[in-house]
């Protein structure tokens, strides 16, 4: 990077470490709470303090991010902190610094901005929970790890953050572990991610082999020099790292953990499983864009996986009863769009969708949390209905989020999704097929989104008014909703299509980061094709039409109640069941992979371990101890024996020295 455009600023280290400090303080407060609870004292003040500490830490981090961002707006290409030399072993070293460039600035703004709103929301949502302080400790720790992930200058530092967010995800999914199933869901998320992380590690080993470094900018800069010589190795490394991204970003075939992860508290779903952590895979690919640009075959694989996941996710969301499951499958599907965008080399479009998705999906999750909160922990939409009268603020903001998700014209999601689909269409070849799949998924998205709105807020009240009294949530929860709703509606201006005035802001903003990737694409003839104004208008019109038609269909079919589902189930039980269970992928895994592994593990534990391993270990252990024990009190004998061993050892050494 040119030094004249890079300014040094060590306060960048504070961005991740303020939340870490907050996490430590909240952890200490949690211990204090436990102690006071044992003593029978009032714990509420301590709990509240933990909440404020956590929010304060994120707010301060956001402050630094915004001020650094204004420096970038002033023309600097990147801000870099001093380097911390972590490992320095012979020819290999790992130096870590925080790099705030145009890509990580966008990620940091989303993480700290949306993160702060979700922290504030959690003040209301988690109120009265006995683990209140612990929750904020985990949440702050998560923000620390996520910021490490996006700010690290080195892939190893990124991996530390990558594992850190995985750990926090595990802790927060299983936050209510006493119930049993959240703990299992947490384990599932962790184990499925192991597969991805193993791929990630193998990929980074290949990068070390190829480039001798894990410094991200060095890797990016040397791709062009290496790609001619080792195209296969580059493709393999890119594929393996994409495998890691599949785990973290819940893509086919590793997406099965995300729906289960909804067992965690809803703010967790909003922050980790919609707005930030699950986008880490997209960030990774964006960061390594020169590597992927040099591996066109892998780009095609990414496109297929993305489109397939978008389709599976959207089709599964249609028949879900649990409001959070709808949103979970929708997240899986939207992440698929982002990967589809990446596969065409439309880096900015993927980031654009990442940002708008953080707004509207964060909003929808928080809104669903507000509904669940108001309905006394009810998540089944069949037992809702007519809630718009009881929770007007939640209702309006939720509709705004749904409009954005379903891509109704002029909403943020409309522009971002349209751009990805337009790029796929423009790329031609196989990508046109992927464009069609994406278009079908978009239709289903509009359908399930408005089905969800209708089932929740319209129609008859299907709950028992004797026992359930829906109520609007407190201001700590509704104010974040309103702020996010504004962004969800107007976020589209960040990157308007080329035919509109003020177009492509984010695209231009990101250019320094994607320059190398674009150059490589250009040199290999895979560069992005531009659409004519006419075809762009046509695609925008087609997108609007599909969204409106299917939104209308979904909304109308379900305002009257759940009969449409019942009818579908009666007519096509097999198909509905297939879709409901996410194409039965999870149960196939259980049958074909999990059970055989468990069986093999049982065999290994009961046969191999008991006989072979224990035998060897006991043998080796008793070899020394039996000698010692036999001779205890018989010092005479032990000396002879030990001396024999020592003599034999020395003789063997001398012999082998001469012979070899």
């Amino acid at each position: 990077m040119d030094t004249s455009t890079v300014s040094l600023a060590n306060e960048l280290w504070f961005v991740p470490f303020l939340p870490l400090l907050g996490a430590l303080l909240c952890g200490a407060l949690h211990l204090a709470v436990l102690r006071r609870r044992k003593a029978g004292g009032a714990e509420a003040p301590l709990q509240a303090l933990a909440g404020y500490v956590a929010c304060g830490a994120i707010a301060l981090a956001l402050g630094i991010v915004v001020s650094s961002w204004s420096t970038l707006l002033g023309g600097a290409e990147a801000i870099e902190s001093g380097t911390w030399n972590w490992i320095d072993a012979g020819s290999f070293d790992i130096g870590l610094s925080m790099v705030f460039d145009r890509l990580s600035s966008v990620m940091c703004l989303v993480i700290t901005g949306v993160g702060l709103l979700i922290h504030i929301y959690s003040l209301g949502y988690m109120k009265g929970d006995p683990g209140f302080a612990k929750f904020f400790a985990y949440l702050n720790l998560f923000v620390f790890a996520m910021l490490m992930l996006v700010l690290s200058s080195n892939l190893m530092g990124l991996f530390v953050g990558w594992e850190g967010v995985g750990l926090c995800s595990y802790l927060l999914i299983g936050f209510w572990y006493e119930k049993g199933w959240p703990a299992e869901a947490g384990q599932k998320a962790f184990i499925v991610n192991r597969i991805g992380d193993a791929c990630f590690l193998l990929g980074s080993f290949l990068l070390i082999r190829l480039f001798g470094t894990l410094d991200l900018s060095d890797v990016g800069a040397s791709v062009q020099a290496v790609m001619g010589e080792h195209p296969g190795t580059i493709a393999l490394a890119a594929l393996l790292l994409f495998g890691g991204a599949c785990g973290k970003s819940a893509q086919f075939p590793l997406f099965t953990w995300l729906p289960d992860a909804m067992a965690g508290p809803t703010p967790v779903s909003a922050l980790i499983h919609a707005a930030t952590m699950v986008t880490a895979g997209i960030y990774l690919l964006l960061r390594l864009n020169p590597l992927y640009a040099a591996a066109p075959s892998v780009m095609l694989v990414i496109g297929f996986v993305g489109a397939l996941t978008a389709f599976i996710g959207a089709s599964t969301a249609i028949f879900q009863r649990d409001i959070k499951k709808v949103l979970a499958y929708s997240t899986v599907s939207q992440l698929g769009y982002m990967f589809l965008g990446l596969s065409t080399g439309a880096w900015a479009a993927a980031l654009f969708h990442l940002v708008t998705h953080a707004f509207f999906k964060g909003l929808l999750f928080l809104g669903s949390g507000s509904v669940i909160h108001g309905m006394h922990e009810e998540q089944d939409m069949y037992k809702m209905g007519g809630l718009r009268r009881h929770m007007p603020r939640t209702f309006i903001t939720f509709v705004a989020g749904s409009a954005a998700l379903s891509g109704l014209p002029l909403m943020s999601g409309f522009f971002s999704k349209d751009e990805i689909l337009a790029m796929a269409f423009a790329s031609g070849g196989l990508h046109v097929a992927l464009w069609l799949v994406g278009l079908a998924a978009a239709a289903m998205t509009a359908f399930y989104t408005w089905r969800m709105v209708a089932l929740t807020f319209f129609g008859k009240e299907r709950f028992d008014p004797e026992h359930v009294h829906p109520h609007e949530s407190p201001a700590t929860m509704t104010v974040p909703l309103m702020i996010l709703a504004v962004f969800a509606v107007f976020g589209g201006v960040l990157n308007l299509p080329a035919v509109l005035p003020g177009a492509g802001m984010l695209h231009h903003w990101l250019e320094p980061v994607t320059k190398l990737g674009d150059e490589i694409l250009h040199s290999t003839g895979h560069e992005l094709h531009h659409l004519s104004a006419l075809s762009e208008w046509c695609l925008l019109g087609l997108g609007s039409l599909i969204a409106l038609v299917f939104a209308h269909k979904g909304f109308h079919a379900y305002t009257s109640g759940t009969e449409a589902d019942a009818r579908a189930r009666a007519e096509r039980p097999d198909a509905v069941g297939f879709l409901e269970e996410a194409w039965r992928i999870d149960s196939t895994y259980t049958r074909r992979i999990v059970r055989p592994i468990k069986l093999a593990a049982f065999l290994v534990a009961s046969v191999v371990d008991q006989l072979a391993i224990d035998g060897a270990v006991n043998g080796a252990g008793s070899f020394a101890t039996s000698l010692a024990q036999r001779l205890r009190g018989l010092v005479d004998g032990s000396v002879k024996n030990y001396a024999l061993w020592m003599g034999a050892g020395a003789a063997a050494l001398a012999l082998s020295w001469i012979l070899i």
Partner: protein
């Protein structure tokens, strides 16, 4: 005469230690064994002075060492590194003795005296190129250690440990002396520098030359001397005394044996191997036979770490488990020597520094835990994590470090060791070491599991704040060093040590 007195300044740290030992002994006699804590403080002050002198010396010494006492004593950065190490471990062991509740009942003045005496032995052992003085230093260290091992005169286990230690120590000393006498006969010198590379007219024959003429006697002589060192650092198959002695000796003494004494043994081993074989391409024949000794050490390293770890797996007693774990770690350190490069030697030295933090910590935990429960079996650890969280979490840090996981210094030390070994073409040894690390994970984390995941058993609620504080500091150092906090001084020291050794070895001839 004046020049001689000036040169005495070079052994000022040793002189201070000697004075300290006499002072401690006299004071104890005058005090008739009462109020022993004051003696402990005096020892700490004396050690601090020694440490300060050593640091001064480090600054004055260049890459090249200097000799005094007619070439008997060699002062170089390599030796100073290990002297600092010895003083550091002595200081922590002294604190352990002072804070160990079990030690209070015994007359304790001689305890400090013997510990200081052992350190003086270690000092001379690491600062000589002459096999005779090396042997004397080793014997001084050993004699003091024998008495320390049997310090609990009333305890049968302690007495048995001392007796075993003496018998095997005597045996290995005899073996080693025999080897030294053979070496003298073959080369006509006791100076390692001359032995490695004898110039014309020095009256000595270098060992490599002798090896070409008669390989079998050379091999036997070298192996016999190596066996003596291998005994000291408990390398398989010279390790049989280790578990019994470590278990029977008072725990602070075990700590000293496992950390201070072992490091001194490694210093002598590295110096011996370095002077004779690590000559970085001076002479093709030397390189050839140096490779052979490297390969032998690599095999010993592999056997030692594997047997140490496998034996540690099934130990019920934490003390015995740590004894076997220290055998396994001797195998890891030996990897550095086996790579036969100054990079590998530096890695071994750095790993010993890491070993210092994590093993002092683990043994300190053992002392704390024995103070609380009066037992040393892992099953009695149940619930420690909830009753003594600070100490237990510190122990978790040490266990993580002993396993070699980030973010601790144990990981970093292993990383450099593995790197050095791979650079030296010993990839197979690194694979074995990596597998061994995985095996060790199992028994180290059994301790953590017992502390945190099992229901507590009723125990005497007792707290030792001083000991807990030391453990906490050690744990913090272990993590910070793993994050690279003290990397520059530590790496610098470890890197410069072998450099001084190497230059000395090749230069000795031209003197």
């Amino acid at each position: 005469m004046n020049a001689y007195i000036e040169q005495m300044g070079l052994i000022a740290p040793e002189l201070v230690l000697t004075a300290l030992s006499l002072f401690v002994l006299t004071w104890d006699l005058l005090k008739k064994g009462r109020n022993s804590d004051h003696i402990g403080y005096a020892t700490l002050v004396g050690l601090a002075v020694t440490g300060w002198l050593l640091l001064q010396q480090w600054g004055m010494l260049g890459d090249k060492g200097t000799q005094t006492a007619f070439g008997m004593v060699t002062i170089d950065r390599f030796g100073t590194f290990f002297k600092l190490f010895t003083v550091g471990s002595m200081a922590v062991v002294t604190l352990f003795v002072m804070l160990d509740k079990n030690e209070r009942k015994h007359g304790i003045g001689e305890y400090y005296f013997l510990l200081i005496g052992a350190s003086i032995g270690a000092f001379f052992m690491v600062s000589t190129n002459n096999l005779l003085l090396l042997m004397l230093g080793l014997e001084l260290l050993s004699l003091a250690s024998y008495s320390l091992a049997g310090f609990h005169k009333g305890s049968k286990r302690s007495a048995e440990a001392a007796l075993k230690y003496i018998v095997f120590g005597g045996l290995s000393a005899g073996v080693m002396l025999y080897g030294i006498s053979l070496l003298y006969g073959l080369t006509g010198t006791l100076d390692l520098g001359l032995m490695g590379h004898a110039p014309e007219g020095s009256g000595a024959v270098s060992l490599a030359t002798q090896f070409d003429a008669s390989p079998i006697p050379v091999a036997i002589a070298v192996v016999l001397v190596l066996a003596g060192f291998a005994y000291k650092v408990s390398v398989v198959p010279f390790h049989f005394w280790t578990p019994d002695v470590y278990e029977g000796a008072p725990t602070p003494v075990t700590t000293f044996l496992a950390v201070g004494s072992k490091a001194a043994g490694f210093a002598a081993l590295l110096r011996f191997v370095g002077a004779l074989f690590l000559t970085d391409g001076v002479d093709a024949s030397i390189v050839a036979y140096g490779d052979r000794i490297g390969f032998l050490l690599a095999i010993l390293a592999a056997i030692t770490m594997t047997l140490g770890n496998l034996s540690a797996l099934r130990q019920g007693s934490l003390k015995r488990m740590l004894a076997y774990s220290s055998i396994a770690h001797a195998g890891y350190v030996l990897m550095g020597a086996a790579s036969m490069t100054s990079e590998g030697f530096a890695a071994a030295m750095f790993y010993l520094a890491a070993y210092y933090c994590m093993n002092l910590g683990a043994f300190g935990f053992l002392i704390y835990f024995e103070g609380v429960t009066g037992k040393d079996d892992i099953d009695s650890l149940k619930g420690m994590g909830w009753r003594h969280p600070v100490v237990a979490w510190s122990m978790v840090v040490f266990l993580v470090a002993l396993t070699g996981l980030p973010p601790t210094v144990g990981f970093y030390g292993k990383l450099i060791l593995f790197y050095a070994a791979i650079d030296a073409g010993l990839a197979w040894l690194v694979i074995i070491a990596a597998i061994n690390s995985v095996i060790s994970l199992f028994y180290y984390f059994r301790v953590a599991k017992s502390m945190f995941l099992t229901e507590p058993v009723p125990q005497v609620p007792m707290r030792q704040h001083g000991l807990a504080g030391i453990l906490c500091v050690l744990a913090v150092v272990t993590v910070l060093a793993g994050l690279g906090a003290f990397k520059d001084p530590l790496r610098g020291w470890a890197d410069e040590g072998p450099a001084s050794l190497e230059i000395y070895a090749t230069d000795a001839g031209s003197r």
